[in-house]
Symmetry: C2
Subunit: 351 residues, 2 copies
Amino acid sequence: MRTTRRAGVAYGVDIGGTKVLGVAYADDGTVVAERRASTPHLSIDPARAPGEASVARAGGELADAAAGVVRALRADLSGEPGPVGVGFPGMVDFGGVLRFAPHLGAAAGADVRTLVSRRLDGEPVQVANDANCTAFGELALGAARGFEDVLVVTLGTGIGGALVMGGRIVTGAHGFSGEIGHMVVDPNGPPCPCGKRGCWERYASGGGLARLAREAALAGTLEAAVALTGGDPEAVRGEHVTSAAASGDPGARRVVEELGWWLGLGLANLVAVLDPEVVVIGGGLARVGDVLLDPARAALAALVEGGSVRPPVPVRPAALGEHAGAIGAALAARGDEGAPSSTVPPRTSGG
Amino acid sequence: MRTTRRAGVAYGVDIGGTKVLGVAYADDGTVVAERRASTPHLSIDPARAPGEASVARAGGELADAAAGVVRALRADLSGEPGPVGVGFPGMVDFGGVLRFAPHLGAAAGADVRTLVSRRLDGEPVQVANDANCTAFGELALGAARGFEDVLVVTLGTGIGGALVMGGRIVTGAHGFSGEIGHMVVDPNGPPCPCGKRGCWERYASGGGLARLAREAALAGTLEAAVALTGGDPEAVRGEHVTSAAASGDPGARRVVEELGWWLGLGLANLVAVLDPEVVVIGGGLARVGDVLLDPARAALAALVEGGSVRPPVPVRPAALGEHAGAIGAALAARGDEGAPSSTVPPRTSGG
């Protein structure tokens, strides 16, 4: 895709709901350094302290984390220069402002591009939605490579998404496309941090798994997962359930299968709307693998409109795994063509 | 958009769940003839008579209706030749086969392009999804004109949809994009002809209105609409409710407002996924106007993710009204650039 190749590295950072992952990605296609940090627990309650100052402070805490990871990666490489890209879990507009972020609500409205840039001596920084970064990485180097029309889904604390059409990421009129996690699949469902009820991510994300797990643990059907916590049903987290399911525990498998059914339901909705060739699943929860993806594939096939007559849509895990978002941010930073961080919405052509 | 203009007319036919509407569209931009017919009640139950022969027979009944309308239009114009385009309410693939059609299930699998062509002495025929035809008409001449990113929604017996991105209709990998009516919004909802439960069109289409109206009539809250039927609650149809609502009857307005809320809920899901600049509402139900669209606008603003911070997305009625689909089919027939009936999926470019 690139017409010129510059020797050196690009730095990419993926900010998730719970962790920050950064990579130094070399032009020879290798990850030459990797750093992690916890996503800061933003100390500001936007309901109690609204206003520009507190938004800037919360955005600054995120920017500190991103810039800290970049500085650590650079230190690993003896200060090697290179462009910087950062993916954020929320609606990032074409001006580099994080407009809305259900899991980082206090920072909504912050000019994250400027805030990160200031912490790196004013050097230019590319910012984009984290799922768009994941899609950009998977499209260039991973499971979406060679496809024209792809739905990319990131399963983390919440659910992110990116739309690839005609081989390129489509960012929508304002840069906000792919907010698939907040598609309502039951208006009477559980409340969501976004302010609505019954959003898809309440059922099919890491947060959804935690909810399903808690219900099952309290109902007494998750003994193996509860044992992994030392016996406290209240302490059951998603990773206990996925571990127990991977070991074959029937109660844990039932929870993961229910999670997979909800995942497949939402995929069926999105396949009907978008008609992709393939679905690529990234984010931390994708590591669970076929224990989760097989029930999702079955539900997708059963629930998508015309499932018996349309070509099957494969559901594949992201090939770059949890690094996809950070690598995609690095590719965007170095200016690869079609990067989702561009300030102009992509155009379609042909027909 | 066109590089060459041929004098004369193009014939466009829009096949809906209940009616067939055809127009002769002249190159000067006027509708010079118009014909209507009822959509044939397909006589074949696919569950009882599966197989290619019965599919071809049902498809032939649809093709008879389409070709009959074209012949009638041509007779109105003393036999004037001109290309023919037909929109079908269902999943039409790039080979001209109607793959799936919840409201015309018996014809699913029929090669409708060939079937219509055979009835017109073998002349070439363009076929496409009806909502894509509506979008093509509105994009060239109507409410979507001048926009790059548009969601087009057709509210008829069911709900159809079309996606415009970068000023062009995006048909998906197989031609099936925009099947928005079968997005599940409540997995425990009422059964849908597509085989699932709780599809959006069970709540927000003409069929959804009929269901809501029946419930309200039997509950005794729709007296004005029941009066329009001569007093039979079982006979209440959508048009009785929309008439009574337009006259200000509170019970009927409540039903239309509930319909509008569901319309807004689905639009909120789709705006989050697609991030359009504008939503254009076509189909027969769009005629109801602001009594329906105002509650939908309010629900969209309240329910879309980040509704308080994203630019408002206007919801506009189709400017070509019920003719949009037939006019769009005519424009596709005459080969206007970017027509949804092309056999190659559109590409995106730029970024």
